[in-house]
């Protein structure tokens, strides 16, 4: 009798935990289909119009990250806002860790639920491919944004050209350290597509600065504790370090918190990609001089818009095709089936307080 009760309680508890896990990992914010699609049919080279009521699932790398929330949410004017304005049913969902194993089940469930299009930031360039190919085989439009999976999507919405980000960050740091000294990179995960592409261009740009030496690249895995630990390691390993580039919001926030002491402030320059709110304290107290980012809300908006265009067959992903993405204006599909949002934006103490995200 007793043991029976014990089992029941355990089962109940198990079930409730599963239910709550589901809540925890898939925070969805659905938008209604009420919005009219009148103003938005000005269109594409192929001349088709955008269908309404399409089910579009937006899958960031991880849920609960402020960058992706800005890129996706209705309030900030991101992907879901674009979909709402077009009269589509958009929802945002992802796993609680930025790993393929956490993202894959989410993609699979989106396919099962009969999505018309996926807007996804890939946690890995290849690991997601079998599932994404399966989606495309079922006629689902796959648009990647932020981080690409080049071999298994219809279109990639590129936040800023890879080369521009790589080169401009090196230029930004060079200005701060007088183009001289040892520098290091605090990246996200060793397998992140966008990170590695940017780092490639950083190395190329560094050849223009003979007195700047890239001594190390470390990986903080987009986890504050790991990013802090690897940055601590850098500071000990290279006592003459003059500058750090961290092209990831988690990495730069961890590095900034670490450098925010009299010992390092102003002596080791830090730049990279960050949201203005994360850096406000550090820009104000002089730990960080300048950093850059694109507008994540515009990135999401463009990705959402492109997904609706493609899923409606209003455009195809043929290079050279053009379409107008609502408030953002006209875009042309490049030869690698991608579209480019624009140049990165530099934040410093003169403009940082004009932004709130």
């Amino acid at each position: 009798m007793f043991s029976k009760r014990k089992t029941t309680t355990a089962l109940l508890l198990g079930a409730s935990s599963v239910a709550l896990v589901a809540c925890g990992t898939t925070v969805s914010s659905s938008t209604s289909t009420t919005a009219a699609s009148t103003a938005t049919t000005q269109a594409a080279a192929s001349g088709g119009s955008i269908k309404t009521g399409l089910k579009v699932v937006v899958i960031p790398k991880v849920i609960g990250n402020s960058y992706f929330t800005t890129a996706d949410s209705v309030q900030s004017g991101g992907a879901l806002a674009a979909l709402q304005s077009l009269g589509e049913t958009g929802s945002e969902t992802s796993g609680t860790a930025a790993t393929p194993s956490s993202q894959l089940p989410v993609i699979q469930s989106a396919i099962t639920q009969g999505a018309n299009a996926l807007v996804i930031s890939a946690t890995d360039p290849t690991a997601l491919c079998p599932t994404l190919n399966q989606a495309m085989a079922k006629g689902i439009t796959v648009v990647t944004y932020d981080s690409d999976a080049p071999t298994c999507r219809n279109l990639f919405v590129n936040q800023a050209s890879t080369s521009q980000i790589g080169t401009s960050e090196v230029d930004l740091l060079a200005k701060q350290i007088n183009s001289t000294g040892d520098i290091a990179i605090v990246s996200a995960t060793a397998s992140a597509t966008n990170q590695n592409a940017w780092i490639g261009y950083m190395k190329q740009e560094l050849t223009k600065y003979p007195n700047m030496h890239l001594v190390s690249i470390v990986y903080g895995n987009d986890d504050p504790a790991t990013a802090t630990a690897v940055t601590q390691g850098l500071l000990q390993q290279y006592p003459n370090l003059k500058g750090i580039i961290s092209p990831t919001t988690v990495g730069i926030a961890a590095a900034a918190a670490l450098l925010d002491t009299p010992q390092y402030r102003g002596k080791i320059a830090l730049t990279g990609l960050a949201t203005p709110n994360e850096m406000k304290k550090y820009v104000a107290d002089g730990t960080v001089t300048s950093f850059e980012l694109w507008n994540p809300a515009n990135l999401g908006y463009l990705a959402g818009y492109a997904a609706a265009e493609l899923a409606s067959k209003a455009i195809t992903n043929t290079p050279g095709q053009t379409f107008t993405a609502g408030k953002l204006g006209k875009y042309t599909i490049a030869s690698d089936h991608s579209i480019l949002l624009g140049a990165p934006y530099v934040f410093d103490k003169t403009n940082i307080n004009n932004f709130n995200f």
């Binding site: 009760r5 896990v21 925890g24 849920i63 609960g64 390691g233 000990q236 390993q237 918190a257």
Partner: protein, 356 residues
């Protein structure tokens, strides 16, 4: 613990025993062996520090010591709560999620209200931890559900709550006042003040576990729950208290985490439970309950963080860090098993000598 089981088997009349009831000569002997166990961890720690310093002398620079200590502080604190739970043959896997929830909600007070007292922020963090710990404790001690199941479930539930509450928001350093950030940045020479405070708390906790009746009861419960019940130990009450305290400690650790990292979103503390359980086991606390000390667990945390730091300072791939942690875990368990078997054998020899 193997030792106690074997011992109570050989002395059926002492079936209610914890270590206290072992004859005093043997008690001295066993405590010597277990002290040797803690020295063993120190030995490994020493070797690592020595090797790393030989290659990179800066490893022992004040700044790096500060880094290691402050990282260790959070884990050593969590390890204290975990030790209380593990010696009673339970496990608390929800501490990382409790830390995350406490870190966000407490530090977010600064964004919501102006002029919040730092004492209030700490009280809220500890309070959240206590409430969540009580939820665990009620289900485990009074609902009679195995702690592995309950805390595995609450690991997800509490993290889910965290994600629901936080959404995509984050607390940023610019919203935190300097007196809050200086909780972790203030230091006495190379030693952060918070590390000294936590060291005192850990020593206090270890003393309580070792010398107070209610603390000793946890060991007895971990050795043999049945026997502990027979001698009248209030098992449910003690286990409940252990989980409530473990939760409160995780809540406190969350506030410290927020002060240290300054940027807090819903992922704070993800996966910490595994590092803490590793630290506890490496630190000589038997995973099947009944033996080990909070100080050992804190040294275990120090060892893991030192290895972590030394690998980064040496520029060795982070993969090795995880591999070495795993290796240490296996070593620790093998060592425990070995010591257990050895002690049982020598105790049997002694008691037979006494009998004849």
């Amino acid at each position: 613990m193997t030792l106690i089981e074997q011992n109570s088997q050989s002395n059926p009349s002492n079936s209610g025993s914890s270590v206290e009831l072992v004859p005093s000569g043997a008690s001295k002997f066993t405590s010597l062996v277990f002290r040797a166990r803690e020295f063993g961890i120190f030995g490994i720690l020493f070797i690592f520090v020595l090797l790393t310093t030989a290659i990179k002398p800066r490893f022992l620079a004040g700044q790096n010591i500060k880094f290691i200590l402050i990282d260790t502080t959070i884990f050593a604190l969590l390890a204290l709560g975990e030790t209380m739970v593990v010696v009673s043959k339970n496990v608390d896997l929800s501490i990382g999620s409790i830390l995350g929830l406490s870190a966000f909600v407490s530090s977010n007070l600064y964004q919501q209200f102006h002029h919040v007292s730092i004492v209030f922020v700490f009280a809220v963090g500890i309070g959240i931890g206590l409430v969540l710990g009580v939820v665990n404790g009620v289900l485990i001690a009074f609902g009679r559900v195995p702690s592995l199941v309950v805390t595995l479930a609450s690991l997800y539930i509490f993290r889910g709550l965290d994600v629901l509450i936080v959404g995509g928001r984050q607390v940023v350093a610019s919203s935190l006042p300097s007196n809050f950030l200086s909780v972790t940045s203030a230091s006495f020479g190379a030693i952060p003040i918070i590390s000294i405070v936590v060291a005192i708390v850990v020593f206090g906790g270890a003393y309580y576990l070792k010398n107070y009746r209610s603390g000793r009861d946890l060991y007895a419960i971990g050795s043999s729950e049945q026997a502990a019940g027979l001698v009248g130990i209030p098992i449910a009450k003690r286990v409940f208290t252990a989980f409530a305290i473990s939760g409160a400690i995780a809540g406190l650790a969350g506030v410290i985490w927020a002060s240290y990292y300054g940027t807090i979103d819903s992922t704070a503390g993800t996966g910490y439970e595994f590092t803490v359980v590793t630290a506890v086991v490496v630190g000589g606390v038997a995973i099947f309950g009944g033996s080990g000390s909070a100080i050992g667990a804190a040294i275990g945390a120090l060892l893991l963080n030192t290895i972590n730091s030394s690998l980064y300072v040496l520029g060795v791939s982070a993969f090795w860090d995880q591999a070495i942690s795993g290796l240490l875990l296996i070593l620790a368990i093998a060592l425990d098993r070995g010591i257990g078997l050895y002690l049982a054998k020598s105790l049997r020899k002694r008691s037979s000598r006494v009998a004849s």
